[in-house]
Structure formats: structure tokens, C-alpha cells
């Protein structure tokens, strides 16, 4: 549901950088999205197609790089990738965990024509 304002942010950032680069148009955007960031690609894509019309980004393709969630056990130091549900450390069973990857949500780069 909150993908609309988020998609507007993506558009704002892309247009700003495209203008700085004196681009005629933007052909692709590369987004980095962590597994834990609760972003739905399809939903972003849906809004994107609507709101990017009549902008420098019209017709630009969205590429999503998904980053799996990785946790580090604060007890034994074991690091592991979160498979589905929340899980305690598979090595020692501790629930004292730190997220070390998977919360990313950024625009990494854009491809432009100048």
C-alpha cells in the first residue's frame, strides 16, 4: 500500500540525478532491495509505469537486486541467511541476533542517454 509514495521518491531521486547529468532520458534504474525492507517489486512497477509517464524516466526499466537477510548470532558469532520465518541461531539456539544484511533500500545507479 505504501509503495506509491515510495515510488514517487524513487522518481524524484532519479530525475534529480538525470538532470544533473544533463540526460535526455533515463533508460534503466538499478534498485537494491533487502529481503526485510517489505517492498513489493510488482507494486513499485505498477505505480512506476503510471507516474513516470511524461517525465525523463518514461519507459525506463526497473531492475531489482534482492539482498537476502543475513543474521549474526551475538552469542556464538555464527552468521547465516534467513530462510523463511524468523529462526533462532541454527548453531547454538540463541535468539540474540543482529541483522547484518537485508534492510537495504536504495537507488544504486541509473542508465541515461545524453
Amino acid at each position: 500500500m505504501h509503495e506509491l509514495p515510495i515510488t514517487e521518491n524513487i522518481l524524484d531521486i532519479a530525475v534529480t540525478y538525470a538532470q544533473q547529468a544533463s540526460a535526455k532520458r533515463v533508460t534503466a534504474l538499478h534498485l537494491v532491495v533487502g529481503q526485510l525492507s517489505s517492498i513489493v517489486d510488482d507494486s513499485i512497477q505498477f505505480y512506476w509505469d503510471i507516474i513516470s509517464k511524461d517525465t525523463l524516466c518514461a519507459g525506463a526499466t526497473l531492475h531489482f537486486e534482492r539482498i537476502p537477510a543475513r543474521l549474526e548470532c551475538q552469542e556464538c558469532g555464527h552468521t547465516y541467511t534467513l530462510s523463511r520465518e524468523l529462526m533462532v541461531c541454527p548453531q547454538c539456539g540463541s535468539a540474540r541476533l543482529k541483522v547484518i544484511a537485508g534492510e537495504e533500500f536504495r537507488l544504486e545507479s541509473i542508465e541515461v542517454e545524453t
Binding site: Y17, F105, E108, S109
Partner: protein
């Protein structure tokens, strides 16, 4: 000619920078801001009213009420309790963001209050993605929602300072495994303070208020 332009910018940075301005405004007025998130019906307003009742003798509070529809039901209850309230109608939006709070702060008499409670829109997903500029976050869960919520909506629990579990008076009637619920929280956020309460009976409210007072004292230089 085509080329790649590096960007490397957080998507939420516009919201985050406005949230920082909200924080600065609260700090300048020496107001502590608390963001309350929960699913619809968990008891956000009931908990806020209990909190007002317990703190009214010592503190002035203000409440920002976020709702998706054009209603003032919650704000009216706060006003009836004698505290300033500002209603934000998000126009169907599923969460409050820093822009909306900024508008509400302009209407709130910040010089007259010490604690600002922001009641977010009832929703366990979207509010987690939008920082507001408040000093700390609280989630209110409730027994009838079920013990699996931390597993189904992990993000909302990750950035919180305290978790209230409301409607404890219903525990005997509902299959709610408290240990399973708490293990989910433990994995997501071992630092969060935990308060099982019942707004109906008043059970556990005193412990929550005690924590809140300590938190406020640590954030407001005497």
C-alpha cells in the same frame, strides 16, 4: 550516448531528512515525542487515555491522531480528557509520514506540552517504513490478534523501544502462547521493554507508566 550514473541514495532519505527537522523542532521545544503503532483495534487510543490519566497530574501531553478517514472519534476522546489533540486525516494513506507530522506539529501548542504522543494509523506494515522524527517507538499488540504476529509482521517490531501487549484479561479465553510470542520478539528486538497490560482492568499499566517516566526523564534535561 548512453552511460551509467551512480546514485547510491537511500530511497527514504527525503522522508528521513524531514523527520530530522521534526525531531529538531521537538527538541527545541523540549518535547519528547513517542510514536505508537499497532493494528486496528489493538487498543492504541485506550492505552493513550490510560497514559493521560496516569500522567496528567505531572505532565502536559499532546496527542496527534492519525486516521485514514475523516473522523475525529479518537481526537475527541483526547480533548475530552483535557489534552490538546490534532487530527491528521491521511486521506486513505496507510501510515503517517514525516510530512504529515510536520503539518500537525505546526498546529500543536508545543510550548505547553512535555510529551507528544503520535498515534499512527492502525496498520502493522506501512508505518514501519516511515520515520517521523519522534524520539522512540512503541508497538501495542493485543492478545486477540494472536501470538504469531511477530513472525508475520517482523519489520514493525524491529525498531521499537517498548512493546505493550494489551487485553491480557482475555488470555484465559484465547489460545495465545505467550512464550511463542515473546520468542519472536526476542529474535527481532531483544532490547525492547515488554509490558503485558489490560486497559480494561488496569493490570500492568503502572509498570508501563513507570518505564515511560524514566524514558522521558532521560530524554528531557531537568
Amino acid at each position: 550516448m548512453s552511460k551509467i550514473v551512480p546514485v547510491v541514495q537511500e530511497i527514504m532519505s527525503a522522508n528521513d531528512s524531514l523527520a530530522a527537522q521534526n525531531r529538531a523542532k521537538l527538541d527545541a521545544a523540549q518535547v519528547v515525542g513517542m510514536n505508537i503503532m499497532a493494528s486496528p483495534g489493538a487498543g492504541k487510543t485506550s492505552t493513550i487515555l490510560r497514559t493521560i490519566e496516569a500522567l496528567a497530574a505531572d505532565y502536559r501531553l499532546g496527542v496527534v491522531e492519525g486516521d485514514t478517514a475523516n473522523v475525529t472519534i479518537d481526537a475527541d476522546k483526547v480533548l475530552a480528557a483535557g489534552m490538546p489533540a490534532v487530527q491528521i486525516n491521511t486521506g486513505g494513506n496507510c501510515h503517517l509520514d514525516a510530512v504529515m507530522l510536520s503539518g500537525a506539529l505546526a498546529q500543536m501548542p508545543l510550548d505547553e506540552i512535555e510529551l507528544l504522543i503520535v498515534e499512527n494509523v492502525g496498520n502493522l506494515i506501512c508505518p514501519a517504513s516511515f520515520t517521523l522524527g519522534t524520539h522512540f517507538n512503541v508497538v501495542i499488540a493485543s492478545v486477540p490478534e494472536g501470538d504469531d504476529k511477530p513472525y508475520k509482521y517482523p519489520n514493525i517490531y524491529r525498531g521499537i523501544d517498548a512493546l505493550i501487549l494489551n487485553k491480557m484479561d482475555l488470555l484465559p479465553y484465547i489460545d495465545f502462547d505467550l512464550a511463542y510470542f515473546r520468542q519472536g520478539i526476542e529474535i527481532l528486538n531483544p532490547e525492547a521493554a515488554f509490558f503485558p497490560i489490560s486497559c480494561k482492568t488496569g493490570e500492568g499499566v503502572a509498570e508501563w507508566i513507570e518505564w515511560l517516566k524514566v524514558r522521558m526523564a532521560s530524554l528531557r534535561p531537568a
